[in-house]
Amino acid sequence: MPLIRGMALGQYIPADTPIHRLDPRSKLLITVLSMVLIFLTKSFPAMAMWAALIFIVAKVSKIPASSLLRSAGPILILIIFTSLLHVFFTGGETVIFSIGPLRASAEGTITAFRTGLRLFLLVLFTALLTFTTSPSELSDGLEAALGPLSRFGFPAHEVAMMMTIALRFIPTLFEETERIINAQVSRGADFESGGLLKRAKAYIPVLIPLFVLVFKRADTLASAMETRCYRGGKGRVRMYPLTWGSAENRAVLCFALFSAVVLLLNRLA
């Protein structure tokens, strides 16, 4: 059933690579920094460098390029929509073409291309994090990163746990959805023909069982956690404490050097 197969967002691909082995805090730090830096990037050569970095990291992590590109699928519409808005509403002197009152300028088209590319690179970079970091590692990393805020009453552990559960259940929910879609398709349900309203209505037999299943699962999970004496982060210890070693230092240093080059290229452009 090709309806939802291929959605890779939030899917961890286990492998034994240097990137997989990095402490999740270092990967989180690099991802957060990259989000800021990608948005600061204006020049196309700098963007090409980002793309090269992403694909080199993917190669080292043994993440197939096809899986990486597919991870941008769910937000492709958003990227296209944002780019189109820029084409028509950025304004500029050189008009390329016009549709009624809408005028597409050369400046707008360049801005649209730049914004679209930035969003695309951003999604790919963040996908690398979820491809190479398991949900539990991500949770541990988040908890450690948010830890200092708990002094001010911020529920760092609980937030990290909620994010872990959400991330952990993305693939499961995809599988459940696919299973229900398959069951309804085998009973003749048609999700691919008709107008928008008909297609939306066709999903009712999928959404109702899915909601029932999700609530049941949430209830079971809560009970299972409670029966194992889960009471939030207070008093919890770790079986595998996080370790920041020389590999993490090297990774952050390499990223810092890369960022410096990118910023330089940006300034020169």
Partner: protein, 281 residues
């Protein structure tokens, strides 16, 4: 007319580090009027195979032919194939969505274009077949017991009147009575001339109700034959996590000690074997 599978192979996550071959060169043919059981351990590829039979999976290699129509050949044939091959998923009660039992059961046939009296007849026939009282028709399926929900879900597939009925682990989670009702339904369906493809990990149940059995192990066919043929060779093949029925274990032990000549999973046949062997001695 039959359902045939030839050299079917399927690999999940192809090209990824998590690549896993689910099916390896599977070939078999199931005829109308027979109960054909596919038995395998957890993760042996049974469910992947079931979905191929209904055209739910895109074929990677090999072919599936239903009544002469090739799955994946002409896209317009897909609806005919899905109409001909009814697929009951594991825990089918999880696919229930309608407000009434009647509406749930009529979902399939109405998708195939049935309406009015013809649709009503199909719903009633499916309810009768599964042993659901007609007073349930207006009941809310979400308020029914687990066993009743399972029956509603199976009835919703039967209502499409498929020639081939594929059931993926239909006995999972059923109590003894539920199991008896299920086996009686499967027999009833095969007597009506339908081909029942029963997918299970319950070797004992398969040996009891099937006309033919195919054992799959790690995605490949390990053995195929009648229950008596399969009983005779089970000790020679790797059945992984499957549990050997007690009667067969006893049979193998007696054969090993030279007390009987023929392996059987039928208790009365085994008693007869022991009696014959004792009298000869």
């Amino acid at each position: 007319m039959s359902l045939s599978v030839a050299d079917l192979s399927y690999t999940y996550n192809m090209g990824l580090p998590t690549e896993a071959a689910a099916l390896k060169n599977i070939s078999f043919e199931a005829e109308k009027g027979e109960i054909f059981s596919i038995v395998g351990h957890t993760g042996s590829g049974k469910s992947t195979l079931a979905m191929h039979l209904n055209g739910l999976m895109v074929l990677q290699s090999g072919e599936v032919i239903v009544d002469g129509i090739r799955v994946g050949g002409n896209p317009s044939d897909l609806r005919r194939i899905r109409q001909a091959v009814g697929l009951v998923f594991q825990y089918p009660e999880q696919q229930i969505f309608a407000e009434t039992v009647r509406e749930e059961i009529s979902f399939g046939p109405s998708n195939w274009g049935l309406s009015g009296d013809a649709l009503e007849e199909r719903v009633c026939a499916a309810m009768d077949l599964i042993g659901l009282d007609r007073s349930f028709a207006q009941a809310n399926p979400f308020m029914l017991s687990g066993g009743e929900k399972r029956r509603v879900a199976i009835a919703s597939v039967l209502a499409s009147d498929p020639d081939y009925l594929v059931l993926d682990e239909p006995s999972a989670g059923l109590d003894y009575n539920g199991l008896c009702e299920l086996t009686s339904l499967l027999r009833k369906m095969s007597e009506k001339g339908k081909c029942v493809i029963h997918i299970t990990h319950d070797l004992e149940l398969a040996l009891e109700i099937s006309d033919r059995i195919m054992i799959i192990s790690d995605g490949a066919v390990a053995a195929i034959g009648s229950p008596s043929e399969i009983s005779g060779i089970l000790s020679d093949i790797d059945i992984k996590g499957l549990i050997l029925p007690d009667i067969l274990s006893l049979s193998y032990e007696l054969k090993k000690r030279g007390r009987i000549d023929k392996i059987t999973s039928d208790p009365s046949e085994l008693a007869e074997e022991i009696r014959t062997a004792s009298s000869c001695r």
